[in-house]
Symmetry: C2
Subunit: 875 residues, 2 copies
């Protein structure tokens, strides 16, 4: 027969899946000789057995529990139900994966009309004894007997009220006795039976209640949300009670072995004398700093310090410890790995390596890559925020903090930036025409749009602070002012926005800049030693490229060229190109763009030096560059010297039913080869210039978007190669460059063997690939995605975390087929998933060469890539 | 060493890939003792060798050619270059797969200043000899020496002109001699050398020219267009010349062993006396019917009849035979399988089986399934067309012929149809709101839109005649008239349209109905005995269902429910449902729709009897059901009793960036389960009613569209099962039904193992799957698809013929994964590819259970499925 119960001295910390986290750690502390109130754990297997057995605890299991109870009586020298020296126990759940507050606990179990008197005599504190009894009945009534808690509260309140008391503390022993009687009467009325006086009966009822609580509705929901399997079951810990509220030599507290907020190596905690655990949390009395215990009880303090050091050394991680002092004797009630801020996590991990406690790999695995996002954006200082005037709150659309003068149009922001001002772009919502304003702004604030609105997506891509959907703002763009309630903020006024919280403040708040130095820098360097995956950045401008380099990007994995087309000095030429009636006119317009494009690339090449720069040729459909509204069309018609109707017709003609699935990407180059030709010319000329003038060994990689058919790439690669060759011949020089393709259309993945014939590299465009594989667009899925999350159809948003079984399978197919044709093909990914740690783990396993993500996520990706290497070592 | 030359008596018809079609057949005819002018064939391998050898014919090969030439001299008793009895030969290309007119031919080779005199003496016809010489020099100059043909024409014309002649026939021997001299002078000037007089030199130059012609640009283009591999090479046939123009006992002609237009078993052909082959084709003289040869040369006629019978019996197929009579002697110059109309193909195939010439499988393989489309639609009779007044020409968007009164709105068509009138719906372009009009019309005529416009796609689906994009029409819908040039056609006037040709006629023309009877019926029945694939139809109405049954559909593979929503007595309820503010209001509107939907299904169930009916629940996004224009919104607002702005807001809110990738399909049922619930209720109630009242064992199969995630199907299957169960319980009855899903989203295919857990059948929706796999929408790809075809990026339109390597791979993955989970899963396909023969072959190989196509393509699919079984027998 299986063993269903373990006394604390029979187990250890490795038995977590059998005993739950709490039980395993209690056993471990017992094992290493720390003062733990004795007790035993009923296993998770027992819980599962209970469910298999139609919620009946079988007699053999009961027998095993009672045997351990006898052992507990022997160990403590107390007896269950004894009127002299009664044993009281706590009965607590203890799941394998912590589910705080989700399941039930019963304290002071073993009290009855008899033992309460024993307690009163023993402690010489009848009030304490009856208060404990009252609490026990209430807890047992609520948790075990399922009597609504408010019914007990009503009794308590009525006694207090009839006596004119405000606080429980005012109740005397007599009041408490009266309440106990009323509680017992309530129970009798509710369950048509007496409150159980037999402690063993109480115990078995409580164990059953804890088992049952595993499947209460809030626990089920919690597990669903957190992805915890339902079959794990809960363990039950039965432990002898220790009272911190037995008088002035008793007390209770919580401590972290290091500072959980900074990571500083110094015990950090609080305690209260003559109190129970819940009093520390409740906040009615102000707890004291743990240091003060030294003065109150020096020996206990010493013993506690030693215990915490022993625990940290033993667990080799920062511990979060609960302790209780009963009549001058220290007991440890719980230890677990302490939660911590990103900053603390990094500092503790690095310190522990330097202390020789853990190795570098362990340190790297200790830091959650998502969490360090906090460390990578400018922030406001807490103390400054306290003084600041909060005026509104929107969605935290893109992390960071920014402070500056308000401007309402992209042009105004650009002008302000040129004058050296820091600007915040405030708009109802943004559109692609605002790109240059967004680039030049410190931060972006919109009144409309959600977490996936244009402003949010673009800002996150730029690593720029953004607060979106701030509905309280009445933005009057034409009047160049914004109203918030009574307040009117005009162009040029200062505001500050916090992209981590969505909060908007009036006036200036100082921001702190980010650098990869100290422990953080060290940790990321260690990650570089370990990771196999390369990390590049998605960057479209010299400025982004510099940020990327600062954060350690090994190249650019995606430089989009379409944003460049929107800059105000070129959009006119772009539009002339689009409305051109023939190839010749189109070429004329493109000729005007050429020098601009060349300058763009020169800036980026200079910023990236000899690191590879992957440039994606034009991708969006042409109608995105044309104005929509009649008044804008009118202006354009005048600028270009065409009739309004001529332009209007072109705008109408270019409209698409499904622009995502329309005339864009490489399809543009099949119909208008001259567009890509111009772009390749610009890349080549820029590369030659930087190479010759600065002696930099530039490495352009030309990337063709939206390829779905091998022949598309074949034709365009030839166009690219011919164009480059011609320019190199004209300039009598040479250049190392690559031509490759995005793999984003499902068909490209499915036919990657043919496509690889014409590609030196593949870069997975997982954004579009996710859209096409699922068959929903990111923009339109907003209408149903909420319900999909609620109904658990998605476990996570597939645009944030790669859908490994669907989209991932396409990637695996493409990798296999691509390598079959070209074993040396370089494989990367440049969708937003490139910055998501779980997805990075997948990309590592899939055998890609690098990931590319937004510059501000580069350190995250470096860390996640190292974790992937460590995690998949054995594979 | 390989053998590069085969004398005709050394080879046979099986050697087509080595000798080309023409050469193999000449050898075969020689073998079976038919009178073929002797000669030899230089193999395709020789041609390839020539190209490998940098376009040099190696000496051993030349030697082999000359040896065969000697044999030819011996056989004919003539000598190359001999002035008494000169051997003249033709040098013709002969590819493995016929490429008519693509490559070069030289006739009369062997003529020179010497042999021309020999010919003159021998034939006693100097004019004939010099005319032949002139033609030879011109042909040789053009084909071999690459001198532009017009230069020879200029000489010929100037001689004619200076003599005042109109026709070549007026030229005398002297004139011809003069022309020969001028031709030779031209050649000397052009190639700076004399015209080659040595026949062997002429021969080798001609052989080389034929080899070269394999890679002339028009041949390359032809091969590309027709998918003929470039590595096949061409053979060269060298054959002794026979002259049909040697006088009145000479002649030439062409004959088919059966009538190529009707299939009638009767020799069908034409001939001309004293003429060369080209004269029959040129049409200057009117050829005589082959029967008349009996009177002119009875012996030759008898011999020819015997030869044609021998050939047909030998080849076991209708032959297309060229013959020449030289001085009373018959020669056969070519035999090949004769091209024929669909009608002839069917009749000949069936007749030949009944004659015991071929077996049923051969008969089935002989008929091109695409071609029989001609036999499946009503047609106009040729004789009636000749009398009809053609008024305009548009695109042949959907085959068939229709005649009726013109109406300009769907409502008017419906009213006319109710009155028993035949109506033609004439519109600028159609939209989903016109569906009921299209259903009730005999045919559809639009002024705008291409082959994939709404009108075209929907009409083809219905098997209804449609002429689209007829730009000459000025349709004035509001005036209820259409102008074509001067002509004005008003509502109620008669027109006739031909969907096979795109032609539009004034007035009534009678149409003939289609039935699967006679040979056609027999052939299709044989196909049923052989095919493994089931064939179902896509049908949305009782009428379509009846057509489908008539054409042999074994069930309905796709019954779309959205068209039902547009019928005028329900669209209002549909719109009320969409604009409903809450679930309750939505349910109220749906309750109004329920009886209509139920009636729809009753009609279809009754039409289909005990055959399975797969009903797809609502698929399109809801905005498709709302009006777009402000005036229509106003009307709706009044009808529903809401404010204009309220409706306008809903219309705006429902707009999508990419409706294809939006809130539609099963996503609607996740957010509004009550919609599918109503549909399932209607299906169940209809099934119960038909089952109980008519005793029909109905077999509904409920199909969920656009599933991409297993959980979607899990949730909706539960909804369906719960709804059905409830109704069955209420009615105290039972019902056999299935629940399955479309596989159209790429992710569904990639995760088919999970999805199969909840599906009793998969039906591949290859239309949407093609769109999502390629990442382009059918509507939008119009802008670039033309260039894609021109640049050979597509070998075929992937919406017509399944893309086997991309989309096909997804299907294979889904079949494998789906069967892994559920080996009994039924697999079908209901995209338009279900009616495409090549795609059907793929579906057979992929292991599907059935294809479903439009009712009018059902016989095509039955035939194609049988061919797939035969073709893949060994697999």
């Amino acid at each position: 027969m299986a063993k269903y119960v373990y006394f604390f001295d029979e187990a250890n910390k490795e038995m977590k899946s059998l005993l739950g986290g709490k039980g395993a750690n209690l056993a471990e502390m017992t094992k290493i000789g720390l003062p733990v109130p004795p007790g035993f754990t009923i296993t998770t297997e027992a819980c599962n057995k209970y469910y298999e057995n139609d919620k009946v605890i079988d007699p053999a299991m009961i027998d095993e529990i009672f045997k351990n109870l006898s052992k507990l009586e022997k160990t403590t020298g107390k007896k269950f139900g004894d009127s002299k020296n009664p044993l009281l126990v706590s009965v607590r759940s203890g799941a394998v994966i912590s589910m705080p507050g989700m399941m039930d606990t019963v304290l002071n179990l073993g009290m009855n009309d008899n033992t309460v008197e024993g307690m009163a005599n023993l402690t010489n504190n009848p009030r304490f004894a009856y208060d404990s009894y009252r609490r026990f009945i209430q807890m047992f009534g609520d948790v075990v007997l399922k009597i609504p808690k408010y019914k007990f509260d009503t009794i308590l309140d009525s006694v207090k009220e009839s006596n004119g008391f405000e606080n429980d503390i005012d109740l005397t022993v007599e009041h408490l006795k009266q309440i106990v009687q009323k509680y017992k009467d309530l129970i009798k009325k509710e369950i048509r039976d007496e409150f159980p006086q037999e402690p063993k009966e109480q115990l078995m009822m409580a164990v059953k209640a804890v088992f049952d609580s595993w499947n209460n509705s809030r626990a089920i929901v919690y597990r669903k949300i957190n992805g915890i399997p339902h079959h794990l079951g809960t363990a039950v810990n039965v432990q002898s009670m220790i009272f911190g509220n037995m008088g002035n030599t008793s007390g209770t507290g919580v401590a972290f072995t290091r500072n959980p907020s900074t990571g500083e190596k110094k015990l950090y905690g609080e305690f209260l004398m003559n109190a129970q655990g819940e009093d520390v949390v409740a906040g009615i009395r102000t707890p004291k700093s743990i240091d003060e215990l030294k003065d109150i009880m020096p020996d206990v303090y010493e013993e506690f310090i030693e215990a915490t050091e022993k625990l940290e050394n033993h667990y080799k991680d920062m511990q979060d410890i609960e302790f209780t002092i009963e009549n001058g004797k220290l007991y440890l009630l719980q230890t677990r790995t302490g939660k911590r801020t990103a900053k603390a996590a990094v500092n503790i991990a690095v310190d522990m390596v330097e202390e020789g406690l853990i190795d570098k790999e362990t340190a790297i695995m200790r830091v959650n890559p998502e969490q360090i996002d906090q460390l990578l954006h400018p922030t406001f200082k807490e103390e400054d925020l306290e003084k600041a005037t909060l005026i509104a709150k929107g969605l935290p659309a893109s992390p960071g903090a920014a402070s500056g003068r308000v401007y309402f149009t992209a042009e105004d922001v650009v002008r302000a930036a040129k004058n050296g001002e820091k600007a915040i772009l405030v708009r109802l919502e943004t559109s692609p025409e605002d790109i240059e304003g967004m680039v030049n702004a410190e931060g972006i604030l919109t009144a409309r749009g959600g977490m996936t609105s244009h402003a949010a997506v673009v800002a996150r891509g730029m690593g720029k602070c953004c607060v979106a959907g701030c509905g309280e703002l009445k933005v009057e763009e034409h009047n160049k002012l914004v109203k918030v309630g009574e307040l009117v903020i005009k162009e040029g006024d200062f505001i500050s926005i916090n992209g981590n919280t969505g909060k908007v403040y009036q006036g200036i708040i100082k921001t702190s800049e980010v650098e990869l130095i100290g422990s953080f820098g060290k940790l990321i360097e260690w990650a570089d030693e370990i990771r196999r995956l390369g990390v590049r950045a998605n960057a479209d401008t010299p400025k982004d490229s510099e940020t990327a380099t600062k954060f350690g990007a090994e190249g650019i994995g995606l430089c989009r060229t379409e944003h460049m087309f929107f800059k105000d000095n070129r959009i006119l030429a772009v539009r002339q190109m689009i409305v051109a009636k023939n190839t010749e006119d189109r070429k004329k317009a493109l000729d005007k763009l050429l020098p601009f494009q060349k300058e763009d690339f020169i800036g980026i090449f200079e910023a990236m030096g000899s690191k590879p720069v992957t440039i994606r040729l034009l991708d969006p459909p042409l109608h995105e560059f044309l104005p929509n509204k009649d008044e804008d069309i009118k202006v354009l018609a005048e600028e270009i010297g065409l009739k309004f109707n001529a332009i209007k017709d072109i705008v109408e003609e270019l409209k698409e039913f499904n622009p995502m699935l329309g005339h864009r990407g490489c399809r543009l180059a099949i119909t208008y080869p001259e567009i890509y030709e111009m772009q390749v010319k610009a890349i080549t000329l820029a590369a030659i210039e930087v190479k010759c003038k600065k002696g930099i060994d530039v490495k352009p990689e030309i990337m063709i978007p939206l390829v779905g058919i091998d022949k598309e790439l074949e034709i365009i690669k030839k166009l690219v190669d011919d164009t480059v060759r011609k320019i190199l011949e004209e300039n009598n020089t040479n250049l190392t460059y690559k031509v490759g393709t995005m793999i984003e259309v499902p068909r490209a993945a499915l036919t990657a063997d043919s496509i690889a014939k014409h590609a030196e590299f593949f870069s997975f465009g997982t954004n579009d690939m996710t859209q096409m594989t699922f068959g929903f667009s990111r923009d339109d899925s907003g209408k149903f995605i909420k319900e999909y999350r609620e109904k658990s159809i998605f476990e996570h948003d597939p645009f944030e975390k790669l859908d490994q079984i669907g989209v991932g399978k396409l990637i695996e197919i493409a990798v296999e087929l691509g390598k079959k044709t070209n074993p040396d093909i370089k494989l990367g990914i440049c969708g937003e998933h490139g910055g998501n740690p779980e997805s990075i783990d997948f990309f590592h396993r899939a055998g890609l060469n690098y990931v590319s993500c937004s510059p501000f996520r580069v350190p995250i990706a470096r860390l996640a890539a190292a974790q992937a290497s460590i995690r998949n070592k054995s594979r």
